[in-house]
Symmetry: C2
Amino acid sequence: MSSALTGLLRHPIVQAPMAGGVSVPRLAAAVSEAGGLGFLAGGYKTADGMYREIKQMRGLTSRPFGVNLFMPQPEQSGAGAGSTTAAGAAPFDAGAVEVYAHQLAGEAAWYRTELGDPDSGRDDGYDAKLAVLLDDPVAAVSFHFGVPSPEVLASLRRAGTFTLVTATTVEEALAVERAGADAVIVQGIEAGGHQGTHRDVPDNDGSGIGLLSLIALVREAVGLPLVAAGGIMRGSQIAAALAAGASAVQLGTAFVPTPESGAAAAHKEALTDPLFVGTRLTRAFTGRPARGLVNRFLREHGRYAPAAYPEVHHLTAPLRKAAAAAGDAQGMALWAGQGHRMARDMPAGELVEVLAAEAGAVWAASAADAEGGAGR
Amino acid sequence: MSSALTGLLRHPIVQAPMAGGVSVPRLAAAVSEAGGLGFLAGGYKTADGMYREIKQMRGLTSRPFGVNLFMPQPEQSGAGAGSTTAAGAAPFDAGAVEVYAHQLAGEAAWYRTELGDPDSGRDDGYDAKLAVLLDDPVAAVSFHFGVPSPEVLASLRRAGTFTLVTATTVEEALAVERAGADAVIVQGIEAGGHQGTHRDVPDNDGSGIGLLSLIALVREAVGLPLVAAGGIMRGSQIAAALAAGASAVQLGTAFVPTPESGAAAAHKEALTDPLFVGTRLTRAFTGRPARGLVNRFLREHGRYAPAAYPEVHHLTAPLRKAAAAAGDAQGMALWAGQGHRMARDMPAGELVEVLAAEAGAVWAASAADAEGGAGR
């Protein structure tokens, strides 16, 4: 492991930042205390709200932790369907958002709520959050949905902060390296929640790369340490990711069912409920591809959802909140990676220890086999 | 590694059977001679043709080798679009095949050839091939596109043959175990060529599982040894797959660019040609989802191809043959896994040695790290 990463972790385990209430300070602190790297989710919060959580964290642990930010989404051309912005990004179609809102009217009525305002804001308070993080630095900051400017990354580095940026392809990993980040989070299609592709291009739907291939491809293309993310639930998979060239792994779904996680009970239970037969990438809840358990909302609306993030996120937020309040898993965004069935309900710190022990056992067994030159 | 597998391999490396001319005896023999397990592709051949290749193999090597068979495709109901056969398989629509044939008329004219007869046969001579393999047994037989009956598997076992069957989900792996096979080939979505799903169900498109998740999921569900397939091009990935719970790996694309492979030159070159930006799963060439480099044929026809295998395979065969004869990569099925850019042109036996050494180096490095409890 690179020395900078080594200073942040005793075990090569990063807890994925999960916005929307799952990544609460209690969870991140438990992970950091156990020797992993806990992360707060700065996304969807105000800068003040993010700062409050950072101060809570410092009250819970003196160990390193990270904060995740969502990149502001590029200005859309607003030129209507059929036009293409630079670099082939999704043409923004305000009409499509309106049509989708009409389609969701039934959901609003059902849950006795109003749809949210799609124009509630596109930059997620990025500048104000950066100002906080430069003024009162944390150990690590990660970025999702794009690459920060070289100036931002350099400022964070000067402040003593370790920076990580998500990449889903070799080209994106090269962009992360060029911009000057300290590490790349290589995210395979197995991952739960939002794919961190730098631009959402619907023509690319279905082209996502599996994690074991992506780690190897990126390992040969960039020199930065890699943090592998996507479907990792067992220490054996951690050992695997490290064997393939990663320095650490990032786990999201694995931490959702822990007692410290802020996920709704219906979400935690759904992960291992045989009623939910699998996951899909969908724009239904937020307008950007994200992987969740297939439920009624995803099945009914997925194919109609426009590529319009965060407009669709704002639109559906009250619906998802109402469904969660009602304990109705069929109307919630049940973010989950492809390994969701392997979810374990145990305290987060204990999970970190168990995962590290599982990974260690694999290394020990392979060291014994290594002479024979054959697999186990 | 299970003792039965150990007897077949010195290195945990299986060369994937690649029908259509790639898996020739020279390739399989080179792999077996180097201590891997070479495979002949019985698919698309007559029983006599398959037997001729087996005898050729025996002249080239005395080491163990395998033969792969395609499962016969279930009888279709022929009840037209909208009907569903048992278990939700794709409704067979003879009209859709006819429409697709009309669409391909331009291709036939372009390549100055005729389309093939879609009704050239659905069972690939399975019974005759099994008779050969029971009469003159080989060391291993693998099956793709479904599960053989318990009786067939038992007969092969009595003949001293090791049996393997492809699975792409936990449920399919359980079916393989129940039927009595000796090993499961767990195939992730990264794999080049045909996905070996037991039934082709278009509603399931996009639900494929990444290899690192699939190995872990299947490892916990079945007791059989696992052979992991999909995107594996480096020894580091072999070490990874074994760490995650596989006993061996199966590599297809990695062997395509070797001098011994029977692949067309245009196919070998395309693997690392930057003109080809990636791969997709498509029914365009055969009517069943298969992963290949995105080219003109895939882009133009992929979205219209019906779920009708092997009808579409027979239909397009003369087109693909003509394109290959003309060295026209844009009209060929350029089967390739997601790791295709890591392709290496070296003799197949040398590739086996290199892969084994790369895997061994990972184990050695991790054994050194293991005490620290942290990743590399």
